[in-house]
């Protein structure tokens, strides 16, 4: 009896699944081939600020492995001020943009939660500072349990804290969540931002922003796009070089897409960006918001898959006493776990994990004596499983 019920349930599921595909015919807007949109013959696509911040973040994470840098110079690269000579690139120095000001700074999550926003910014300051204070003085020292220094990971040499953490990895991977994912999912793809003030009215009437060729709504969507594709060789066709264009979200969308179980996710994300932008041009905000949800769901999944991947890779490496490899994986894992607080559940106002939850995960991972040196495999499994359950993933698939 039970079995037949189950079977009937299955039947209904498959019926409802197959009927889904019929809905697509109701979408009259076509997904464009490329991300190129124009008005009166000129491109309306613009995301220079995002390209700039990606470039600043790249210089920052490189500087974190230059032991000659002062603490002030590292922190200034994070919190750049216009005209300061923080970077090797003069254009970045001249820019008014800063990575820190857009860290944990989305409208939906942080406009009325400056407490967490400030705590997250300070957390990143502290990790950057610790690289200088704890690791740089130990640059020419062999690391061991409880002692910061260098450790071999295959042919690479890694630089770790006394508890085994590569702060440069932790900072880099945390920025993927705190800067890129937060800005895309919780800011620029939010209706609160897209529809702010007279944005709908203006977009309907094609009233362009002051002195610009785009409407404000078009521009907001493009700014979301820029945090993922802003460093692409050809941003109208970014998947041609996906993964090679930055060390942040672009790179890890490509890595997840390269996993056979998630192949196609990169196309799904790009298609949604294109169709959503075309929907804005067509003034169809329902289709726009559907695409925004697709992007939110998939980019959240990218963070979750990589968090699980690195937690498990680290666990396996610890088991074979490959500490250099393990700490590298686990430092990346810590950053992706931290980034989970910026993910977004589809059609909701909530992230998959709260700030408190990810803070607790990180505390648990580092709870043993000398942190990663004695990391508990059980803890790594427990956290992996919590992520897998929350995102409805399959552990063995994410591990690949």
């Amino acid at each position: 009896m039970k079995i037949s019920k189950l079977y009937i349930g299955l039947l209904f599921t498959s019926i409802s699944l197959s009927s889904c595909s019929d809905d697509e015919s109701t979408i009259s807007i076509e997904t464009p081939t490329n991300y190129s949109f124009s008005r009166d013959g000129s491109s309306t696509v613009s995301f220079g600020g995002q390209t700039t911040r990606i470039a600043m973040a790249e210089e920052l994470i490189s500087a974190l492995t230059d032991e000659t840098k002062s603490k002030e110079s590292l922190l200034s690269m994070f919190a750049h001020e216009e005209g300061d000579s923080d970077f090797s690139d003069a254009e970045l120095n001249a820019s008014s943009k800063s990575v820190r000001s857009k860290t944990a700074a989305s409208n939906d999550f942080f406009s009325n939660n400056t407490t967490d926003a400030s705590a997250i910014k300070t957390q990143l300051d502290n990790w950057i500072g610790s690289q200088h204070d704890e690791v740089f003085p130990q640059w020419e020292v062999q690391a061991e349990s409880g002692t910061a220094g260098q450790i071999a990971d295959g042919e690479s040499t890694r630089y770790i804290s006394a508890n085994g953490v590569e702060y440069n990895q932790l900072v880099g991977k945390s920025l993927i969540g705190a800067l890129m994912v937060d800005q895309i999912l919780n800011n620029y793809l939010s209706t609160a931002v897209l529809d702010e003030a007279t944005n709908i009215e203006d977009n309907d009437a094609e009233v362009v922003a002051d002195g610009e060729i785009y409407t404000t709504m078009e521009h907001k969507w493009d700014e979301a796009y820029g945090y993922l594709y802003g460093a692409s060789v050809d941003a109208t066709d970014p998947n041609a070089t996906l993964g090679d264009d930055d060390s942040f979200l672009n790179k890890y969308v490509a890595k997840v897409d390269a996993n056979q179980y998630y192949t196609g996710i990169a196309d799904d994300i790009f298609d949604a960006f294109k169709l959503g932008r075309a929907a804005i041009v067509a003034k169809d905000y329902t289709v726009r918001d559907e695409q925004a949800e697709i992007i939110k769901e998939n980019l959240s999944k990218v963070i979750a898959v990589r968090a699980v991947h690195y937690l498990q890779a680290g666990k396996d490496a610890v088991a074979t006493q490959n500490y250099g490899g393990a700490f590298h994986d686990l430092s990346e894992a810590l950053g992706f776990v931290y980034s989970l607080q910026f993910t977004r559940k589809p059609n909701s106002e909530a992230s998959y994990f709260s700030k408190n939850e990810v803070d607790q995960f990180i505390e648990d991972i580092l709870a043993e004596e000398n942190g990663l040196w004695n990391v508990s495999a059980t803890t790594l499994d427990d956290i992996s499983n919590e992520i897998v359950d929350a995102f409805d993933l399959v552990l063995a698939e994410a591990v690949e």
């Binding site: 079977y7 020419e140 062999q142 071999a152 295959g154 790179k251 074979t320 006493q321």
Partner: protein, 370 residues
């Protein structure tokens, strides 16, 4: 009722299906793994390390003699001993297991290209810690290559660095530091094999991922893929970067030694595949026997023949290369690429066909560079 029957069939089918992919072949695999491990340890690995250690002792002595008496003649003698030890290294390089794995023998022994700027800084300051991972490309055979072949254009000038009072002591010290470090690292590994690890190794004959067969098989394939195929041939030929770089070859400063080293490594790899005893033609238990044994259970293509034939193709293709790989790259890189392609064919045979037949999982991933 019908529905339940159909479901039962589906369920049963899926159970059978999962059994099929679970590798139930092992139950029929009664190959004597321990005999193979014994042959590997007693007739191949330990004798190869003994031979290598002897040659390192000679190298270390000659380096000290040259440091005491820096003459052009003694430089030639030193080079001979360096070449002899460097060749012997090619016969143990693939055994990065046990103590060798723990101390990272490969990285400290044969990282190249070397970091000349930092080596010169080390010599100048006299302040360096060769045990640090970041100093791996400032020591080993590559470091010695620079010290005895690359310091200056002529032998006279090279000798002068070790003879002139301003530079002599610093150079002599660095030279002998490198040779004594090579020797002590290797003695450490060989001592371990001779004082307990050999027993650990041969008794660890299970088929789990941590079993000695599984581990050394992975090490063997990793070496073939990463060092023989990539570092010696692929990287300098520009396979990965798209731009050939003649300075990336092994033993770059000696100018015409890279092919000889490659040939030694290739011969060592082929010999190990066939279980051939070190320094003799005697065949013992090895991958070839194991694969032939498995083939008697499950009729399949003759993998041993395929792999050995391909070893011959690699040998004949690489025979055409110039003694100096850097010259070859500059003059006709296509031949280097051809050699790479032939090596790659065996990488696939090892990684896919051989590992499937042996029911062994790959325990390393290609470094993703992040």
């Amino acid at each position: 009722m019908k529905v339940q029957q159909a479901l039962f069939i589906l369920l049963t089918a899926s159970i059978f299906y999962s059994c099929d992919s679970g590798g139930d072949d092992t139950s029929e695999d009664n190959f004597d793994r321990q005999a193979m491990l014994v042959n590997w340890a007693d007739n191949i690995i330990i004798p190869a390390y003994q031979d290598y250690e002897e040659k390192l002792e000679t190298l270390n002595q000659e380096a000290n003699s040259f440091a005491n008496t820096p003459t052009a003649n003694q430089l030639v003698v030193l080079r001979e001993s360096w070449m002899s030890a460097y060749k012997a290294w090619q016969w143990v390089a693939m055994f990065e297991i046990g103590r060798a794995e723990t101390i990272g023998l490969q990285g400290y022994t044969n990282s190249y290209p070397v970091d000349v700027a930092n080596m010169l800084a080390n010599i100048e300051s006299g302040n360096y810690n060769l045990e640090l991972p970041s100093r791996r490309d400032q020591q080993g055979f590559g470091g010695l290559d620079y010290l005895i072949n690359g310091l200056a254009d002529s032998d006279t000038e090279i000798v002068a660095r070790y003879a002139d009072s301003n530079t002599a002591e610093a150079h002599q010290t660095y030279l002998t530091d490198l040779t004594s470090r090579l020797l002590s690292l290797t003695s450490d590994v060989l001592d371990d094999w001779q004082n307990g690890y050999r027993e650990t190794f041969v008794n660890n004959d299970g088929s789990s991922a941590t079993g000695a067969v599984n581990k050394l098989t992975n090490d063997y394939i990793f070496y073939f893929e990463k060092h023989l195929r990539a570092s010696k041939v692929g990287v300098p030929a520009g396979v990965f970067s798209g731009t050939p770089d003649a300075t990336d070859v092994e033993a770059y400063y000696s100018t015409s030694f890279s092919k000889a080293l490659f040939k030694e490594a290739l011969a060592a790899s082929e010999a190990f595949f066939n279980g051939r005893h070190f320094g003799s033609g005697t065949l013992g238990s090895g991958f070839s026997d194991y694969l032939n044994y498995l083939n008697t259970i499950k009729e399949g293509p003759d993998l041993v023949e395929i792999i050995n034939d391909q070893f011959s193709v690699i040998a004949s293709t690489s025979d055409q290369l110039a003694d100096s790989f850097s010259d070859q790259i500059k003059n006709d890189n296509t031949l280097m690429l051809n050699t790479y392609d032939e090596l790659q064919t065996n990488v696939i045979s090892f990684k896919i066909d051989m590992l499937q037949a042996l029911n062994i999982k790959v325990d390393y991933v290609d470094a993703d560079g992040d």
